[in-house]
């Protein structure tokens, strides 16, 4: 499983894909869905040509991400990590994208993209380190072309668009992937990024993880638009609304968006309909703004349960899930304790990375502080 995450599939299945975007007009609020909540294939024609091994690996990756996510929340509760934004419920989107994205493709994440960051070879240790409050968690040791977590809402979409321009200009075989939440679509940067991507016709794939809430504010208070995908049309881009908890639907959407990007057809907006099963961050209390009934209703669409049901129905899944989870827990815990035992934070780390060469004024501030530290030591 970890193997899949560390080495994304280099080439996606080479069968001709049916162009589907036109069939799911967001103006009519159509949604791309391939399996239902019971794991039954309801759109056989669009079912991607994935071999069973890949499906199993994808499921395992989702399971690993969920295990890591649940453990992250519990580490935070134990006071061993600071604020953490759970991805629970949003795994299918990111693992589907993770199957498509290659080592040289770019990822400009927001802050709820742990699963695809793992697929891009960011290590869990690094993610934990970041949420423990150490900037070294954004200094990726293995990952290629991944930007650091971007907290200012929606701003990363513009970076991905600029990267896509750079890709086109340099005639590289790369695609830029970027993510935003439903709330982020209200920011000016969202519209500006789509507009630039349209004008420049550059290879960028925008994903809206529509998890229904921007902290406490539901999508219906965020926009009166029929959906979020339709916003692409005004900028001359294709937009498609996809069942984000349906791994297969997400996979085919990404596949087409990716092929379009590679073929010079420009950008795509994918609205992935999902549900944030956890809190906005560990500082948030969802009981303030949503009901248990609503949570239970969405739980029926859970991406892991659905894919599992599909595999069970088709006799693909033969593993012992409990045992797997136990194995994953050991792996996660190992990464966590590596992060926890990371070199203690030193004064120079506050200063060293502000400029490529430290200006004298900063050297002076650092020296003054060291003098204070000496005074403090001697005083004891």
């Amino acid at each position: 499983m970890l193997n899949t995450l560390k080495q994304p599939v280099e080439k996606i299945t080479n069968t001709e894909s049916k162009m589907i975007f036109g069939d799911f007009d967001p103006r009519e609020d159509k949604i791309l869905r391939i399996i239902d909540n019971e794991g039954e294939v309801i759109n056989r024609e669009l079912m991607p040509d994935l071999d069973n091994g890949t499906i199993i690996e994808a499921y395992k990756s989702m399971l690993f991400a969920r295990t890591a996510d649940e453990m992250a929340v519990s580490y935070q509760r134990q006071g061993r990590m600071y604020t953490y934004p759970p991805i629970n419920g949003q795994e299918a989107i990111q693992i589907a994208a993770g199957l498509i994205i290659r080592r040289d493709d770019w990822l400009a994440p927001a802050f709820r993209e742990m699963a695809i960051m793992l697929a891009k070879e960011v290590t869990l240790k690094e993610i934990f380190l970041y949420y423990m409050g150490n900037e070294q968690g954004s200094n990726f040791s293995k990952a290629n072309h991944v930007l650091p977590i971007c907290v200012p809402i929606g701003s990363q979409l513009l970076h991905a668009t600029g990267i896509a321009y750079s890709i086109k200009y340099q005639k590289k075989d790369e695609v830029a992937f970027t993510f935003v939440g439903d709330g982020g679509t209200s920011e000016g940067d969202f519209s500006e990024a789509l507009n630039f991507a349209g004008v420049w016709k550059v290879p960028v794939i925008f994903t809206i993880q529509n998890n229904q809430y921007a902290i406490s504010v539901p999508v219906k208070s965020q926009t009166k638009s029929v959906n979020l995908a339709v916003k692409a049309l005004a900028f001359g881009l294709p937009g498609i609304k996809v069942d984000g908890n349906d791994f297969f639907a997400m996979y085919v959407a990404y596949k087409e968006a990716f092929e379009n990007a590679q073929a010079g057809k420009g950008a795509t907006l994918i609205e992935a309909l999902t549900y944030r099963k956890g809190a906005h961050t560990t500082s948030d209390d969802p009981t303030k703004y949503r009901t248990k009934e609503e949570e239970q209703e969405w739980d029926k669409t859970d991406p892991l349960k659905r894919l599992k049901k599909y595999m069970d129905k088709n006799g693909i899944w033969k593993e012992n899930e409990e045992k797997l989870i136990e194995e994953y827990k050991v792996l996660v815990d190992k990464q966590f304790s590596e992060a926890e035992n990371f070199t203690p934070y030193k004064l120079e780390e506050v200063f060293n990375y502000m400029y490529t060469n430290m200006p004298d004024i900063l050297k002076k501030q650092k020296a003054d502080y060291e003098q204070f530290q000496n005074w403090k030591e001697n005083r004891k």
Binding site: E187, G188, I215, V217, Q222, Y345, V350, L362, Y369
Partner: protein, 325 residues
């Protein structure tokens, strides 16, 4: 009188003004149903309805830009931006329109608007949640910038801010949102903007601070007292218009000034206070004015933040050096 935290005192001020003045409206991200991520507006939507206290879509520039429109047309909006580091998308509206409309229209339009947000470090937060951008706002002509340090002041200053016909940037020290409790009068009262407050009288050195740093200074003063140093502590309360007189008078008495603030030192409120010391009290100075401020760096994430935050010890260290100069 009721015992209140800063959060409760601001909530109480907002409550009083919503009750008294039907033109007051309040919005921002999560400020309605949830009552804000720090619960400053908690209960107000229930009491005054969704037309007056509500959640806006997630867009800071739009929050401030529409707030300006409301302020120009008969309302008194109090808008919340969620965190210090999330105020920047609205900067264009603040710097290009909010601060200028009165001057641009030669007084035809007034901008009775409050932009409030939590600021400052010390809560182990993610990036963009620990910043002290008061100098950025104080540098914009046309704005008033207010920072309370106690529940009492938070209430009185907020009431003045809402009643101001000029736009006010009201920065709330999140680190002490709930850390300080104090008896606060239940009825309406206001504290004039533009007036600093001498918190402790002293003779050897003037310490000027504001917001969450006041508490750290008070701890340092205890250490100074043990060392036989008499400190005069001034809470700036309003960053702009800055109260030159109170500061200059104090320096003339003590002959020394130490400035304490969380923001990066260069081109800061500390720089301005040093200019005041030099311009208004130069001949009275017995030691160079000193700033105890943040480094010219990004506020580190939680693991590195203790190195950046200003401790009472560091304040005392500089007080002693200044007095012994």
């Amino acid at each position: 009188m009721s015992v209140m935290t800063i959060v409760q005192a601001i909530n109480n001020a907002l409550d009083i003004m919503l009750e008294e003045d039907k033109t007051v409206v309040m919005y921002g991200e999560d400020t309605g149903k949830e009552g804000g991520v720090f619960r400053v507006t908690e209960g107000l939507q229930k009491k005054y309805g969704v037309e007056r206290v509500f959640d806006s879509p997630l867009a800071e520039s739009a929050i401030v830009g529409t707030g300006l429109g409301m302020a120009l047309s008969g309302l008194r909006p109090v808008v919340e931006l969620q965190f210090d580091g999330f105020t920047y998308p609205a900067f264009n509206q603040v710097i290009s329109n909010v601060s200028r409309m009165h001057n641009r229209s030669r007084g035809m339009y007034k901008v009775p608007m409050v932009i409030r947000f939590p600021y400052g470090g010390g809560i182990n937060a993610l990036e963009h949640h620990s910043e002290s951008p008061e100098a950025l706002y104080a540098h914009i002509p046309g704005l008033k910038v207010v920072i309370p340090s106690t529940p009492h002041d938070a209430k009185g200053l907020m009431i003045s801010a809402i009643e101001s016909d000029d736009p006010v940037v009201f920065m709330e020290p999140k680190r002490i949102y709930r850390a300080i409790k104090q008896e606060v009068a239940d009825e309406k009262f206001s504290i004039p903007l533009g007036k600093a407050k001498v918190l402790t009288e002293g003779t050897d050195v003037t310490v000027v601070a504001f917001g969450a740093m006041i508490r750290e200074c008070q701890k340092a003063i205890v250490m100074a007292k043990e060392a036989g140093i008499s400190v005069e502590l001034i809470d700036l309360r309003t960053i702009y218009p800055i109260d030159k007189e109170t500061i200059a008078e104090s320096i003339k008495k003590t002959g020394r000034i130490v400035i304490v603030a969380e923001a990066p030192e260069s081109f800061s409120v500390g720089s301005e206070l040093m200019a005041i010391a030099n311009e208004e009290a130069f001949l009275h100075l017995e030691a160079p004015p000193k700033r105890v401020m943040g480094f010219d760096t990004i506020v580190p994430l939680a693991k590195g933040e203790p190195l950046y935050l200003i401790s009472p010890e560091r304040i005392f260290y500089e007080i002693e050096r200044t007095v012994k100069f």
